[in-house]
Amino acid sequence: MERFGEGYLEERKLVKRWSGPVPALVSLVLTLGIFYLTWWIFQDPRGIMRMYTPYVGYMYCRWWLIMMIWMVYIFNFWPFKRKWLETTHPLVKGAILTTISVVILVALIKGFFEGLLGNYGLAYFNPEQLEKLPGVTSFFAIEYSALAVLMFAAIASWLSPAWVVAFEEAPWQKLKQPAKGFSILMLTFFLSTIVYFVTMHPHMGILYHPWQYFTSIAPPYWEQFADTVSGNFHVSWIMCCTVVVWLVETIWERYPFNLIKNDWARRFACFFGIIGIALAMHFFLYFAQELTWGEAIRGTRRAFAPDWRWLHVGEMAIFFLVPALFVTFYCDNWPKKYSMPVNVLLRTVVTLVGAIALYIVYYKTSHMFLGTQKGFSHPQQFPMIPMIWLVNIWLVHHWFMDNWPAWKMVPKTVEEIEADHVAHKAAIEDVRWTPRFGVGLGAGVAMGVIFYFVTVWALPSVYAAVNIIPGK
């Protein structure tokens, strides 16, 4: 029977061409080089296409991420055959798959959002419709439209992978491609539409003067709770969801949800667990800003404005994604030698340290080479764009190009695949309830709570000592 790309990522063996950390370092240097070259061509305000306006560049960047998720996670590389994936040179494969992802991307944005929705449904998806309003300049018409389109992307980039990671493709997991892919695509797109209408549509509705009371809820229902009418409140938790999905899928190996034996209980626990963890990040990262910069003041601008603080929560969250993916893609999800919970904890610590280091380095230096501006809170300072752009480069490299050239792809044998399944099952079964596990769990909870309050206590002085941007 003809096989497409189902199980391709799990059933490929990436063999290092050199020993030790050399392949990871070579890949890092190579991908950073590609990142910088493409950043200059497409995004950099000093470069060629200058799409970092910022919303236009962000829109394409964000949807490109989703295109790759659709192609790999939802459609399992369909219509490409397994043999083609296994035998084609990574450079050729990378070029063809990347081109396809970009073609779908442009068709979706220009055809579906601007052409269909923007002309026949919601005017704010099409800049030309917005420009018909008195006083709206072409630049801001494009920015508003890009904002709406990219907000849809933010939601879809959480829900599309979440259905695979949390719901394990159910109830269509046994369908063949492309039926499975289309089923998941339709459902996740439908859910994204609902979430969009109850989170971002009211934000777009009050962009107009007077507020569009007849078409959107104004002022938005979250005003009192979030201390702002801005939809950035939702950007924050949705970004956290996007990041947590990938933490669960990569460095956490879906732990601890994979301990739940009942299929539907596990799926629901994982889906809503991702939201729960994301909300914890959402609230804590806001609190962290209050601790370091002081309380937000409604109505002000920049770093003290609640709307920017919520946006910055999402920006901080994205810094966690980069080291987590690096650990998984280029460090073979190191470490693996301990029990699953201990491995997960150690990887989380590594990711946390990496995220903090990346955050500091980014804000200290990015304005020197990315064409962004010095400071945290500039309206056009969007670390999400370079971070997701880098993630996109890594996805092309890891998913489409099998980490070439530092790794070589070899299909696993049937025995190797079976051994993987057995080992994975054993790792899960290794974690079971015993009295000592219960004692450890209780002690761990206490340590976690203590660690939280120590962090809260130390954060203001640690932040002041680091002094990321002198003068701030």
């Binding site: 970092y52 002000t300 601008r301 010095k374 290794d430 939280y452």
Partner: protein, 385 residues
């Protein structure tokens, strides 16, 4: 069960528990009212900057550019709001290579020999080499402070952009004569933006020795431009924070990034006897609420009251809108300002929203190319005290 097994089970439980405890605390505590116990009580510094009897502001020009669509078209064409302002190829640094291909060095080389005295000749060259020179206007204001003994002192806040437009405005308001007569004792730059700073030769034509105060954060091109314009007086770089100027007047520098690759903004505070705090701004990129909050935390002022505002409040300079601006419109009423004279980058739409919200906006006359009476326009004045 062996000890090793027991230890492994404990570790597995502990590793899991750390995550549960940490995430649980993050989720339940971080946005709860209990967290407010961690916020330090803000101790007001109550720095005494003295008092003055009154402050009068004359709007020399608030029309920094004349057509939003043209300016935003340039910005869009050149690559957006993050492009270095010296690269747009706007006047006076036109090099003839077109939009987005400018540079300070190439632009200034064409006109440096004519600065600051032969500005008409310089402008002819600029018009031939720059993108949309006809759209350039500028922001500048004359600030007259009446001291408690009745003595009046004059300061300039910014000098606009177009040499041609600014010279016309200076003559209209008599600024040229005041500079020639050394009646104006200093020029404060709010920030390095083109529309506030690039008209510098017009001021130096009449008084090249004038003392200039710039906020910390000017880029090398900006510092070089001050020299290339022929400035021979004292140049003072003001550090971030509060800086007393004369009794009743202080400037405050905010270390903030601004569009078109600019950093730092300086605004002015006045303590007007029996009235309260008056804030005068160039663009107020820091935000009027932060400006008022900073005053509350730093300065002692009459009646502990915010009395007035003048200037660009940088809310919707291109008549763009964002829900966060609604946060400002909703919140501004909490600060109790009694006189609001806004223009320039405030945005006409925002000024109208202020009026609709019942705020005490002092309306203007819409003369000399100012577009709407909701703004305190070109040639209009406002007095506090």
């Amino acid at each position: 069960m062996s000890d090793n097994m027991k230890r492994r089970d404990f570790l597995k439980g502990a590793a899991t528990g750390v995550g549960v405890g940490l995430l649980g605390a993050m989720g339940l505590y971080s946005y709860s009212p209990m967290r407010e116990g961690y916020f330090p009580e803000t101790e007001r510094k109550m720095t005494d900057i003295g008092t003055c009897r009154s402050v009068k502001v004359t709007n020399i020009s608030e029309t920094s550019w004349f057509e939003n669509g043209v300016l935003m078209g340039d910005i869009k064409g050149a690559g957006g709001l993050l492009v270095n302002q010296y690269d747009y190829n706007w006047p006076p640094f036109g090099n003839g290579k077109g939009l987005g291909k400018g540079s300070y060095d190439e632009g200034i080389a064409k006109i440096k020999h004519l600065l600051p005295n032969r500005l008409e000749e310089a402008w002819d060259i600029i018009e031939a080499n720059s993108v949309h020179p006809e759209n350039a206007g500028g922001y500048a204001a004359l600030v007259e402070v009446e001291e408690m003994d009745g003595n009046k002192r004059k300061f300039l806040l910014d000098v606009g952009w177009s040499y041609k437009w600014c010279d016309e405005c200076f003559k209209r308001e008599g600024i040229d004569k005041m500079l020639e007569n050394k009646e104006i004792e200093a020029l404060f730059f709010s920030h390095e933006h083109f529309d506030h700073f690039w008209g510098l030769p017009v001021a130096l034509k009449y008084d090249p020795e004038i003392t200039i105060y710039i906020p910390e954060g000017f880029y090398p091109e900006g510092l070089q431009y001050i020299k290339d314009c022929g400035h021979t007086g004292k140049l003072i770089t003001v550090k971030s924070g509060l800086n007393k100027v004369i009794p009743g007047m202080a400037s405050y520098v905010f270390a903030i990034p601004i569009i078109c690759r600019v950093y730092g903004e300086q605004s002015l505070y006045f303590n007007v006897a029996d009235k309260g705090l008056v804030s005068v701004t160039g663009c107020c990129h820091q935000g009027i609420i932060r400006f008022a909050e900073t005053a509350y935390n730093e300065i002692k002022y009459e009646n502990d009251k915010c009395h007035g505002i003048y200037g660009g409040l940088h809310i919707s300079p291109f008549d763009d809108w964002d829900p966060k601006y609604d946060d400002l419109v909703i919140s501004l009423g909490d600060y109790g300002f009694e006189r609001i004279g806004c223009n320039h980058c405030t945005g006409v739409l925002c000024a109208k929203k202020f009026i609709a919200a019942g705020y005490p906006v002092v309306e203007g006359t819409a003369k000399f190319r100012s577009k709407d009476k909701a703004y305190l326009g070109n040639g209009d004045t406002i007095t506090f005290g």
